[in-house]
């Protein structure tokens, strides 16, 4: 291998550091002109390893003109952070290398200057890169590009943002044939999947695999409550005092919560027991950028002792000396747990400290399973799916905005992006037709075409207004419509979903950003609030719940059947399982246990299917419907990650017909098509694909509706053109994302041969964690909206009655 330039060697020597093996390997890959994927734990100097080769090249070619290296990170804040971590070494080496960032927050004059005179290294996000590619200058700007570095690729390669970046890379490769691809990832189960995603020709062997040295094993504990492990709940709220004691005993503790609502609750709980008045903060995705930056800065400068956060801190932002990570509730997956734990202690050779606080007895088993999985080095599977068509539409429109293109070339180029490797010409042409004028069979909008095919065989944007429209609306993340939460003085705290806001009236109170707030009023897109000391409720977010991974579910099933494992469990968990074995049965890992029993005049059926909350919600809905047709008068159902329970006026004598696989054929499809799930997916693909414009907050007018409901568009399209491309795209999304149809199908396929039915005289111990949800979660039955409305009217009448 050739020598590194002296500036870099001296810098390493000056710090008493040596080049690590993976850093050397990454430089070697660059020297050989090969693409490379670096898999390494947090704290391994991963980012620097990615950049070293570029820095060396820029030292060797001091006259290099233009953009040399493009760095893409999924997080805006990360690009800012890396600028700091990269700028510092470059400055200390005394190098004249121009490094700049470009995100949605970059002022437009600087963006224009970057297009005309690009820096040597540009740090950006997938969305900003896609926008850059929509400018005619992109051809010259990227002509000299040597390297693209994609960071934290595990976090987004198998998602729509990954699709967008894969397409952008395909475009860049055409503009800069010499460009080399590099990606950095945390430890993943299947590196070859990521190599394939990164490759420029679909062959993963063309991408070198470089592995970092393994870090020290993490030191993880399960926190047990001072009294008993609770029967129910999934938040670990009971443990506030114990969590506070841990915060007091450490310098800086991150408290991870699985949802934003939970983060607000936990923050309130901790604050209530914060007798020593330690500085605590809260961080989640609905808070305003200003609020988040403030907390991040406080953390970096050591002014915080505890930070309650959500997945918003999952990625490798290296702001402070975190020495403890606490996971509230079950971690739901071993990879996620490992990455969260990696936030503590960014040094490889020291063990990270972490504590899991299980919310209930099942979650205790799940926490134990996660620990075992981490010990065994078992990671969760990444699920790869074909590239999304709405993203493809957005990308092609971006390229069209930059200049004319030929369909044949575009098709070939798009197929070099791994997610689109198998895209058929027919589907590609349908996407083109969609961009052109909506892609309707009627061709009703030919006179309004957004792109036109010229006599020279090239497609062009037909009017500059469509280019402008594209740039305003491009992007992959489609949030539910939101309102800004503001104080009267204009200070913005963050956002709440429009739906939540629409249920609030002046005088109502809610917790947000760690404060109790009272609503003063809504004006345009703002929800005005003031601080209050009155008790408050918590905003609900539409966001999906994290599903329990199959790998943890399997481990929990295994625990149930292996009494010798129980010796490791606390006494009350052990007694719970022993009692279950005595009163009913503990299913073998491949069995589906169904219990039925009467209680207080109702009849209950509990199925322990371990397929995760999402799958159970769908199944509960379908089974309740079947019970309805069978005349069993179901009243409702509840579910958690491990089981679901239906309750009815009449008993289920034989559960087998309820679980037959044909439920998936018509009933499921019918249910999904009319569900909110598919409508939400449709809204996303309609916005990403460019069918409709985004809700742009500043553009909203008072009082009158200025936008249209995508639900209505969905209904009309489904009725008149059910084969439309966007409906297929929405269907693909919904299928993969929320209902876990595959898991449902497996479960039902197995059910006839694996079902163990126990008729009991009363409730079993295993049933308690799910049954206590009745009345607490108030989940509706299969009820259509009408029944909900009738119920609401009754309540309203009752409340409005004078005597």
């Amino acid at each position: 291998m050739k020598q590194l330039p002296p500036q870099i060697r001296d810098w390493f020597d000056g710090r008493g550091w040596r080049l690590r093996q993976h850093q050397t390997d990454m430089i070697a890959a660059a020297g050989a002109g090969r693409d490379a994927l670096l898999v390494a734990a947090t704290g391994a100097g991963k980012t620097l390893a990615g950049f070293l080769a570029s820095i060396a090249e820029l030292i060797e070619q001091p006259d290099f003109e233009g953009l040399h290296t493009l760095y893409v990170s999924p997080l805006k804040a990360l690009a800012v952070d890396v600028q700091r971590n990269l700028l510092e070494p470059v400055e200390e080496m005394g190098l004249d290398i121009r490094i700049e960032t470009r995100t949605g927050d970059t002022p437009s004059d600087r963006k224009a200057r970057q297009r005309a005179r690009p820096p040597h290294i540009l740090l950006t996000t997938p969305e900003s890169l896609s926008l850059l590619l929509s400018y005619p200058e992109s051809a010259t700007m990227f002509a000299n590009l040597r390297t693209i570095i994609v960071d934290e690729v595990h976090a987004f390669a198998p998602t729509k943002r990954g699709d967008l970046l894969a397409l952008s890379m395909a475009r860049l490769q055409t503009l800069a044939p010499a460009m080399r691809r590099v990606a950095l990832t945390a430890t993943v189960k299947d590196p070859d999947g990521f190599r394939g995603w990164l490759s420029s020709d679909g062959d993963y062997e063309g991408v070198d695999l470089v592995r970092g040295e393994p870090g020290a094993k993490a030191d993880i504990r399960i926190l047990l409550p001072e009294d008993r492990v609770p029967w129910s709940g999934h938040s670990g709220r009971y443990a506030a005092a114990q969590v506070m004691a841990e915060i007091e005993a450490h310098d800086l503790t991150l408290v991870f919560c699985n949802t934003r609502s939970l983060a607000e609750l936990i923050f309130q709980d901790l604050w209530a027991v914060n007798d020593r008045n330690l500085p605590l903060g809260i961080h989640h995705g609905s808070l305003g950028v200003e609020a988040r930056r403030k907390v991040e800065a406080a953390m970096a400068s050591g002014r915080l002792r505890g930070l309650v956060c959500t997945a918003s801190l999952d990625l490798g932002v290296d702001w402070g000396d975190v020495d403890l990570v606490i996971q509230m509730g079950a971690p739901k997956g071993s990879s996620r747990l490992l990455q969260r734990i990696g936030r503590a202690n960014h040094r490889l050779d020291e063990a990270s400290q972490a504590i899991i606080v299980p919310g209930n007895r099942f979650e205790y088993l799940e926490a134990r399973a996660a620990l075992d999985a981490v010990d065994a080095g078992e990671l969760d599977e990444d699920i790869w799916r074909p590239g999304a068509l709405d993203v493809l539409a957005q990308h092609i429109m971006a390229v069209a905005c930059a200049g004319p293109f030929a369909a044949d070339h575009m098709y070939r180029e798009v197929r070099t992006a791994a997610p689109y490797a198998t895209l058929s010409r027919d589907i590609f042409d349908r996407v083109l037709g969609f961009i052109e004028s909506g892609g309707y069979a009627l061709r009703a909008y030919d006179r309004y075409r957004r792109i036109r095919l010229g006599p020279d065989g090239l497609w062009r944007v037909s009017h500059p207004k469509f280019t402008k429209q594209h740039r305003l609306n491009a992007g992959i993340i489609v949030d539910a419509p939101v309102l800004d939460v503001r104080f009267r003085n204009g200070r913005r705290l963050g956002t709440v979903e429009e739906y939540f806001a629409s249920t609030m009236r002046p005088g109502d109170t809610f917790y947000f950003a760690g404060l109790a707030l009272e609503v003063e009023g809504i004006k345009d897109a703002d929800l005005f609030v003031r601080a209050t000391s009155r008790p408050a409720r918590i905003p609900t977010y539409v966001g999906a719940r994290m599903p329990l991974t199959t790998n943890l579910a399997n481990r929990v099933r295994h625990f149930l059947h292996e009494p010798e494992e129980w010796r490791r469990f606390p006494q009350d968990v052990r007694e719970w399982l022993e009692m279950q074995q005595m009163r009913s049965v503990l299913p073998a890992p491949n069995e589906l246990l169904v219990e039925t029993f009467p209680r207080e005049g109702r009849h209950y059926m509990v199925a322990y299917s371990f397929e995760g909350w999402n799958a159970h919600q769908s199944l509960g809905m379908l089974i309740t419907r079947r019970m309805e047709t069978m005349g069993l008068s179901p009243i409702g159902f509840v579910s958690n990650d491990y089981a679901f329970a239906c309750y009815s006026m009449k008993p289920v004598e034989d559960p087998r017909p309820l679980f037959s696989a044909d439920i998936l054929e018509e009933e499921l499809i019918e249910w999904i098509q009319t569900s909110h799930l598919l409508k939400r997916a449709f809204r996303e693909v309609a916005v990403i694909g460019g069918l409709i414009e985004r809700h742009i907050p500043g553009k909203r007018k008072t009082g009158r509706q200025v936008t249209f409901s995508t639900d209505l568009i969905y209904d009309v399209l489904r009725k008149y053109e059910p084969d439309h491309m966007l409906l297929s795209a929405a269907w693909e999304d919904a299928k993969g994302r929320l209902t876990d149809i595959g898991r449902l199908a497996d479960l039902l396929e197995r059910a006839p041969s694996t079902m163990v039915h126990r008729q009991l005289d009363r409730v079993s111990p295993l049933a308690v964690p799910v049954l206590v949800l009745i009345g607490r979660e108030r989940v509706a039955t299969g009820t259509v909206d009408d029944e909900l409305l009738i119920e609401a009217e009754t309540l309203a009448q009752e409340a409005m009655r004078a005597v």
Binding site: L442, Y445, A796
Partner: protein, 221 residues
Amino acid sequence: MVPLSFAGHDLTPLPDGALWWRARRALLLADLHLEKASWYAARGQMLPPYDSLKTLEDVAAVVAATGAQEVWCLGDSFHDRDGCDRLPDDARALLTGMTARLDWTWITGNHDAGFADACGGTVVEEALVDGLLLRHEAVPGEMRPELSGHFHPKLRLRVRGRGVSRRCFVVGERKIILPAFGALTGGLDAAAPPILKAVGGGAVSALIPTAEKLLRFPLAA
């Protein structure tokens, strides 16, 4: 279907958003917004070109179900004044068939002000029918009983952790505001200040007809 007694007349709100006036065998419909999709398509948002057909099929269905002989459209029947010219052939045939067969009146609104009746029917600005004033937008000081559209009222509720949103009639002491009938028409919260202001003081409720019951939700006392 439960009728509502209003200014001495029995009027029946129907689940799809039409108001049925049995004594006259008349249907009242507000805010059809025909050709809304093509209006947006001309501006780069290619909404499905089936909204007029869907809306008019719904109109035809409610006409058939009630046996109506009169139809009153309370304004914004077309999304813009040229909407009538853009109707696709199938939708146009359906509409002209109905306007030829029925006693059909277009009341103009703010969207379709000044449109010509290229599709049949009579165009008026407002109408007084058996003592009821029909117009597009409620006039706050109006003392006569009045039926109007314009606001697209919708009731939004959170019940059992689920959001439910439904088109509704807003009924005050002297005014009824009809929901929008059009297939692609969005809605405004029934309790929004502009609606409460338009419907005047006194007791105001939102009405949602379901198959069996007429649900009543108080909005203001």
